[in-house]
């Protein structure tokens, strides 16, 4: 293939990360205002958008076709060109990236939403597991993450103190993020004095239950230059998946994140300055840093990351949005955004962004 179009992030907006909204599970109340913000920031209107793609889950909503009801927020008349993934909207972004790359459209709007508070999130997420021999036991998401965390603790790959330090840095950074759900100062000793939620995990190790939504506007590089001063060009993007057989994976590392990072160019063409990692558990940040080769010099999760707000099905998209914002604002020249989906970092997407 030749003459593939380069694609850039030109706009990002997100709803406040909160424990509970009064809104519906179709996300309309969260999406209407952030669509307006995204249009305002890019100077585009809905008629300018060539392709729309969303990420959400009916299991989270407890109803069928919640994503179709969400389309109301677009005002889809005249009829639009639209698609949906039942995954974090970072994967919707991948689909939209392909549409622009292939020259079918030159703009796309990607959005994700989730009302995690509607059900019992950790229990709903058990249904992501293998449906034959694992999900029928209802292992919840925190139980599975606990198994992964202990493997690393037992192997000496990280300590409880290391995990607490991830939480402390995340919460401190979140203090400057008006959208974060959890923020503030904490000491290692005070965090480690707290009781276990699911031994070996304590509350600070676990992302909060969050309602939220996010939107990203993509454009071909040619179009992007007319829209914003510093477009965040997607230099590389890829996603990979590990086996669903939890007991046959080495859970202390992430082969899929490593492969996706390599394919996206995370380790080549110079280091990234900033990385936004979608790690819903403290130990998963350490696994991802290792898998993506992010050394001490890389600023990790200046937004506070998913540990300070984890809106299901948009938290991964928001990581790419936060990374892109560093470039759009002129604070970085090269940044990495990562999204995960599934139990114990089963699926991973990596996008490397550069100032255009």
């Amino acid at each position: 293939m030749t003459n593939l179009t380069d694609v850039a992030v030109v706009g990002f907006a997100q709803a406040p990360n909160v424990r509970r909204t009064h809104g519906t599970t179709n996300g309309v109340e969260m999406l209407v205002p952030i669509f307006a913000q995204a249009f305002e920031r890019t100077g585009l209107s809905k008629q300018d958008i060539g392709f729309w793609c969303s990420g959400s889950s009916d299991y989270l909503a407890g109803r069928a076709f919640s994503f179709v009801a969400a389309v109301d927020a677009i005002g889809a008349f005249p009829p639009i060109h639209e698609s949906h993934v039942e995954m974090d909207a970072a994967w919707a972004l991948y689909e939209a990236w392909l549409k622009i790359r292939m020259g079918e459209v030159d703009t796309a709007l990607v959005y994700g939403f989730g009302k995690s508070s509607a059900g019992e999130l950790r229990r709903v997420l058990a249904l992501q597991l293998d449906p034959y021999v694992t999900a029928p036991l209802w292992p919840d998401s925190i139980a599975v993450a606990g198994l992964q965390a202990r493997l690393g603790l037992d192997a000496g790959l990280w300590s409880e103190k290391d995990l607490a330090e991830v939480a402390i840095r995340s919460r401190a950074d979140a203090a400057a993020n008006p959208y974060a759900q959890v923020s503030g100062h904490a000491e290692v000793s005070e965090l480690l004095d707290a009781p276990f939620v699911a031994d070996p995990l304590r509350a600070h190790d676990i992302a909060p239950v969050t309602d939220g939504a996010a939107v990203i506007v993509l454009a071909s590089v040619e179009r992007a230059r007319d829209l914003v001063e510093r477009p965040a060009v997607i230099a590389g993007i890829d996603h990979r998946v590990d086996s669903p057989a939890l007991g046959s994976r080495d859970l202390t590392r992430s082969a899929s994140a490593e492969a996706a990072g390599r394919a996206a160019g995370a380790g080549s063409a110079g280091p990234v300055e900033v990385a936004e990692l979608h790690a819903p558990f403290t130990h998963q940040e350490l696994i991802l840093r290792e898998a993506l080769g992010l050394g001490e010099g890389v600023r990790i999760n200046p937004s506070g990351g998913a540990l300070t707000g984890n809106p299901m099905f948009s938290a991964g998209l928001a990581r790419i949005g936060e990374a892109a914002t560093r470039i759009l604002d002129g604070d970085a020249r090269r940044a990495l955004g990562h999204a995960t989906s599934g139990p114990a970092l089963q699926q991973n997407l990596v996008a490397v962004l550069e100032r255009g």
Partner: protein
């Protein structure tokens, strides 16, 4: 006019459930049929490793796997986490450990529950054995849970088995059934809540879209044409017309009225969007497009926040609306 959103939106518990039936195929079929005999089988991967539970394809080479290997129902804890407050559907109702267990003869770990009383009794490397269900049926839950290898026999009964699919006598298990039950708190939008609260007072509340000026009933969190919430409140009468309809002749599960009957789109006077309701009070074949109808309400002491306060719409006997008046609603 009362601004939408000035009251807390309505919400109510929503419980959903479904018994998922799945055919197991030759590999998982072998596994669940062995469980029924209180045996555990794994499968040998391309690299010689024995996978338990068996996988259909090698996770590295993707080759279809066929060599089954018997393994022990006893093994070693590779990792564990503590479930202090078990959730609905989990193997034990009292605190327990989740454990990755490498059974003797296997190279991969099986995820299951470990009944250990307290977290202090669990450690990585501990030896455990399966506590078999009293009534194995060919399902992962035939292993009720694991216990410490040296635990004394537990005379207490195990939980009842999951439902089983019908099959011919002597045939192996080909289908497993897993009941899934989830609980939610379902919320109506602020706009829908205004409408539902109006119904409880016998009022029909619509709202106008600020962009296209159309009147929606029920009102919307976003006008599907313009993407903005409907706002200006309009109280509508309980009269209108049938725009289009169908005669239901087919019986179905949950049907409340004896067929034939008419399900119709009702466009209230002053509304721009029709909604679905029943037309009764005349023979089904007498219902026409454009027919004038009026709501038949239940007695007001039975009203609540639901459109079921209106049992149906009935003909008023007024002249039909001309087709050109409603053609653009079809």
């Amino acid at each position: 006019m009362i601004a939408a959103g000035s009251e807390t939106p309505l919400s109510a518990p929503l419980d959903v459930g479904f018994d998922y039936t799945r055919s197991v195929g030759p590999v998982l079929g072998r596994f669940v049929n062995a469980l029924r005999e209180r045996r555990i089988v794994g499968i040998r991967g391309s690299d010689g490793r024995v996978h338990v539970p068996p996988v259909e394809y090698d996770p590295v080479t993707a080759r279809a796997l066929t060599e089954f290997v018997d393994v022990a129902d006893e093994g070693t804890v590779v990792s564990w986490s503590w479930a202090a407050e078990p959730l609905a559907g989990q193997p034990l109702e009292r605190p327990f450990a989740w454990a990755l267990i490498r059974l003797d003869g296997a190279d991969t770990a099986l995820l299951h529950a470990l009944d250990a009383g307290s977290a202090a009794n669990v450690h990585t490397g501990m030896r455990v054995r399966a506590r078999w269900s009293d009534e194995p049926v060919g399902h992962i839950r035939d292993i009720a849970w694991f216990v410490a290898a040296d635990a004394p026999p537990d005379p207490a009964p195990t939980p009842p088995p999951p439902p089983v699919a019908e099959r011919e006598d002597g045939e192996p298990v080909g289908t497993i059934i897993t009941p899934i039950h989830l609980r939610y708190q379902h919320s109506a939008s602020p706009e829908e809540s205004r409408y539902l609260r109006g119904l409880a007072e016998g009022r029909l509340i619509g709202q106008r879209c600020p962009a296209c000026r159309k009147v929606y009933i029920p009102p919307r969190g976003a006008c599907p044409t313009d993407g903005v919430p409907t706002a200006e409140e309009i109280e509508l009468p309980d009269t209108g017309i049938v725009t289009t309809f169908c005669i239901v002749n087919v019986p179905f599960l949950g049907q409340r009225i004896k067929p034939p009957y008419v399900a119709a789109y009702i466009l209230l006077d002053g509304a721009d969007i029709a909604f679905l309701h029943l037309v009764l009070g005349c023979a089904a074949e007498e219902v026409r497009m454009g027919m004038r109808v009026r709501a038949a309400w239940r007695p007001c002491e039975e009203w609540s926040t639901t459109l079921e306060n209106i049992t149906h719409f009935a003909p008023t006997g007024e002249p039909d609306a001309p087709y050109e008046n409603f053609a653009h609603h079809l």
